[in-house]
Assembly symmetry: C2
Amino acid sequence: MKIITAIAEMRSLSVSHRMQGKKLGFVPTMGFLHEGHLSLMRCARQENDIVVASIFVNPTQFGPKEDLDRYPRDAEGDQAKCVASGVDVLFMPQVSEMYPEKPVVFVAVEGVSEVLEGALRPGHFRGVSTVVAKLFNIIQPHRAYFGQKDFQQCVVIKRMVAGLNLDVEVVVLPTVREQDGLAMSSRNSYLGKDERRVAATIWRALSEGDRLFRTGQRDAAALQGAVRSILLQEPGISVDYVEIVDPDGLRPQAVIENRTLILVAVRVGRTRLIDNLQFL
Amino acid sequence: MKIITAIAEMRSLSVSHRMQGKKLGFVPTMGFLHEGHLSLMRCARQENDIVVASIFVNPTQFGPKEDLDRYPRDAEGDQAKCVASGVDVLFMPQVSEMYPEKPVVFVAVEGVSEVLEGALRPGHFRGVSTVVAKLFNIIQPHRAYFGQKDFQQCVVIKRMVAGLNLDVEVVVLPTVREQDGLAMSSRNSYLGKDERRVAATIWRALSEGDRLFRTGQRDAAALQGAVRSILLQEPGISVDYVEIVDPDGLRPQAVIENRTLILVAVRVGRTRLIDNLQFL
């Protein structure tokens, strides 16, 4: 596996692969890799000639009071995992390489960036869409892989790709979960032992929502209330939101249809966790 | 010359040229072509294997009270001029092809988009940077050509290219002028005969500025005053601004140095005209 830190080197490698007719698959990450990331890499490995992964903890998507400083890192462990998952090229730029000056250019996706996570984390998705645009322009992939756990992020990026006519296919793969159902996330490492146990409530609540859907419940308010009350029964959890929305525009729905989603954000101690489930 | 109206066809043609190692030069325009545009095309012809020009009157860069509806058009004449200037591919998409839905994705360039033209035409440069990003992503050129007449636009686009790591070299070529010095512009076609004569005052005023610089004047306020007073002596002209700025950040300068610019915007009747001169 080749490790690249310079934009110019990454770009010229991508251009030369493209000139040879190779298909490039790209998995952007912030590192501290878990099975969710690795499932994206393995899928990219199957579908492309060259697999590029990136590790870049992007400062512009963190709010001033968020966890940029303590975001978990494990460069060595991550490299071994990338090798084992079939990554050909790992792009690991420094912040100064990606942002040589104070950033003044931003890609904004109106609407879907402003609700849910966007309402609670102002500027977050502007940071995400901008850095993903930059990475797409540097790496020039044919396909890019994202996890459904960050469903809103996937919607934002798909909109950006369409709106800017980026020549990239966005592939969204299922959330990978721990044995007790907790969605894999680098931020799970923040959780103490008791918090970790409490965090499993999220999936229990979503699963109850799914059970209600399967037994015919189509009333969004009723199902939302049931999910919310399971979360609220757990004193270690504060609920940021439980919302039932359509999968394309993330607009609140009164009636649950096929493909409608339930999105959840909670705090467990100092740790914010998100998860979602699509009714299918 | 090939005429293309569909994004998918344009993109696949560009990709296939790139795969063959061809260098693509791109001249984006809003049509109603004049010698300024044609000079860009001829330069692109010399420097590249394939020359792509676009004609697209981009609605998102016009304000609600601006001249979108009456912007001059001449598709047939433009096509003949493109052929004569060595264009290989003319991309002429409909508005519905470029914006199939109400646009929600925007590229914003903070700072340099907000002064001068940006202050008088809010949202103008956001529209420009977004459509240029779209066109770059569709056409995937190695080089793109712009005229110095729209100096601020060139600065905005260079910043955007750097900020989003777009793989495009931005080439800026000198303003082409009429015999009396008026900068060529599609909007000159709006001018009545008297207005056309009045409009030549802009270049007379800028030339006086240049003469003062060459005879040693380095005080920006004094030079600016001299240029402004020439413009104000012409009753057919209203001055929007006369500003002396640095060429990279467009910040006002007190002392004129090499590469400092003077930028002028005026109205002649209903027609807004801009021009500039760099002190060298």
